[in-house]
Symmetry: C2
Subunit: 439 residues, 2 copies
Amino acid sequence: MAVSSLPPSPALLTDKYELTMLAAALRDGAAHRRVTFEVFARRLPEGRRYGVVAGTARVVDALAQFTFDDAALASVADFCDPATLDYLANYRFRGDVDGYPEGELYFPGSPVLSVRGTFGECVVLETLVLSILNHDTAIASAAARMVSAAQGRPLIEMGSRRTHEQAAVAAARAAYLAGFAGSSNLEAQRVYGVPALGTSAHAFTLLHTTADGPDEKAAFRAQVDALGVDTTLLVDTYDITTGVANAIEVAGTELGAVRIDSGDLGVLARQVREQLDRLGAHRTRIVVSGDLDEFAIAALRAEPVDSYGVGTSLVTGSGAPTAGMVYKLVEVDGIPVQKRSTHKESHGGRKQALRLVKSTGTIVEEVVYPYGAPPPDPGHLQSRPLTVPLVRAGEPVGDLSLEAARKRVADGLRSLPWDGLKLSRGEPAIPTRMIPVER
Amino acid sequence: MAVSSLPPSPALLTDKYELTMLAAALRDGAAHRRVTFEVFARRLPEGRRYGVVAGTARVVDALAQFTFDDAALASVADFCDPATLDYLANYRFRGDVDGYPEGELYFPGSPVLSVRGTFGECVVLETLVLSILNHDTAIASAAARMVSAAQGRPLIEMGSRRTHEQAAVAAARAAYLAGFAGSSNLEAQRVYGVPALGTSAHAFTLLHTTADGPDEKAAFRAQVDALGVDTTLLVDTYDITTGVANAIEVAGTELGAVRIDSGDLGVLARQVREQLDRLGAHRTRIVVSGDLDEFAIAALRAEPVDSYGVGTSLVTGSGAPTAGMVYKLVEVDGIPVQKRSTHKESHGGRKQALRLVKSTGTIVEEVVYPYGAPPPDPGHLQSRPLTVPLVRAGEPVGDLSLEAARKRVADGLRSLPWDGLKLSRGEPAIPTRMIPVER
């Protein structure tokens, strides 16, 4: 088995109805009409004040790989007619994509992505585009709240085991994008360069049990021998006070860090800090982990915690495991279209967006307006365009680097009004003004 | 790009600390000790009365692929010493695995999987085993509640777009395993044979818009021409009553089905049923979709709904997106071990399990007892062993077919006491009795 840097083609990560629609549209010729599909979220997850766009670079990467080889064609041959199979065999996305760059904040109605081309070439991308954006955005949005709650203390993503094995890799990437220091996930390091972190688990201490009973010091000694004194020793397998004493006895006062993974983390962090200082290990850091979310992280602000390990809540989006974005047809041959049924707001026509900003840098309003129309007058405010070109004629354009996205999140968090950073449930930090197409 | 039936090696879908523990354990020789790791959930997701084990077959498949090639070794070379790299280069799991067969019910403390071998060969599997089981089990457990709520009406999984693109494939498989009729996901059909379902979306109707305005009938005609009258027409893009009339006008009274994707589904289903009957389309079925979960499915029991499409709530585990299973070292060279810190119950020693069953088939109690000890006396009840061999010396054994797992879920749901099928929050349907190791 090769570890390929190229995953299998994503062409079948697709809902069947996209291909049946394609078949019907090829038959009556509508497949060749020029269209715009738009990705947006009707609302933020309940009580959230902002979201962070993530996954854009993964979408752009996937476009180039989205082709149907013989095996893929064979697997859809039972319901696709020859004309459809022929179309798919030659399929390659050659359209244009615009959207919010990865790491940008978004709000309800923000036109996060706009995909343009023929109906046939755009319709088959719906599922893949949404899967990537809904997942990665959900994780990055939760991660940004944790980063903001940690107020500069480093966060380590360690939730791989609590989510699908491949989702884990994307989650590690999204967490890093949002400002985490790194992840436990090795594949995320290999594929995306996310710093890999972590040293040992309870199993390693338990392994050093003999007929005479547990031997925590033997475990610590083995770890320090292999990884050096700058390692992080896990001190809560048995008794924490004894664990800390054993750790310093074995590693000396230059020990890098101790980790506490259970119990009342605030109380324990204080006790352990006092004990470490008493033992002369003033520079030994304290890492805490164990069911942390943004609220628990914030609650530990006053405690002598040096970094946080976050697992389940990160990879499950801290209560909002999907961003709920949709991929909607908004324009056909230049004609704005929209669904007219009840309760689902939709706005026809291709759009672009800008954000109004005070001279202090604080954001005030999201403005979504028809593509090609003059941007609205910002008055006394500054106006920052949000929509950028991402793909032209099927080829990626623009800076899709993870580091650039990471910087955008940091800038975005700084730009929020003070209320917007509150962890409590509330309204979106800024309103969105939708300027409709003139008909 | 080839669509490979073999995904890249899963060896790096692993937390860094597993390899640093391996390095330290190789150095002091502990890596060669014989150990048992056990997978179990300390509790069910809050309020759930049972869980459904899923992912077991995916775990077994992954074991055979879990090898480190040159690219994988290169990516960990910066923190692994030569002895560790050499160990990984020759790594292949040759141990044994026992556990609950896929599709079996589980309860708090159920020893869902037991992995045995040297510490070195077992420790590196932790993340991958947990990622697969935690994800697939969360989805199957939610899906089983929906299947039970639907009382025999078919359910279609259509949530791919609301979760990571590869998680979507596993979610489709888990839903089918739990009793769904099929999924929209094409890759799940190709890889696992899950029936692929689905016909069209609002975009297809909107596409048939011209300068003269929308033309729903043109869209329906194109779909029927391409897919035949047995297709499902989506009737709520504009006005539902007009949509139904257009559908029957175009397709005739032999139309397969209509789908309603928005609005008050119960009210609309009744109206649409009456309208279809009035038009003579007595055999045209009604499919409903749109933010359905097990509660909404149950609430529609009295309505003339023929099948349900379920998306977001399925792929996010309906409020419980991860099963919370852990992978714990329970035995080293025959010595039971366990963490002693507060609040986390753990039970040392290799275990097996049986379920006590009344003569009516209703289950009464889960009994977890030390491996090798005589099974407890069932008294007047019957006793059904739960632990089966899954892997011997690295090779799969036993029936890992999806159809067998599907049958197990159906049997399991029938075996629950009446209370256990309630959707409301409650305690586990049966208690778990843990018989400790005699020391």
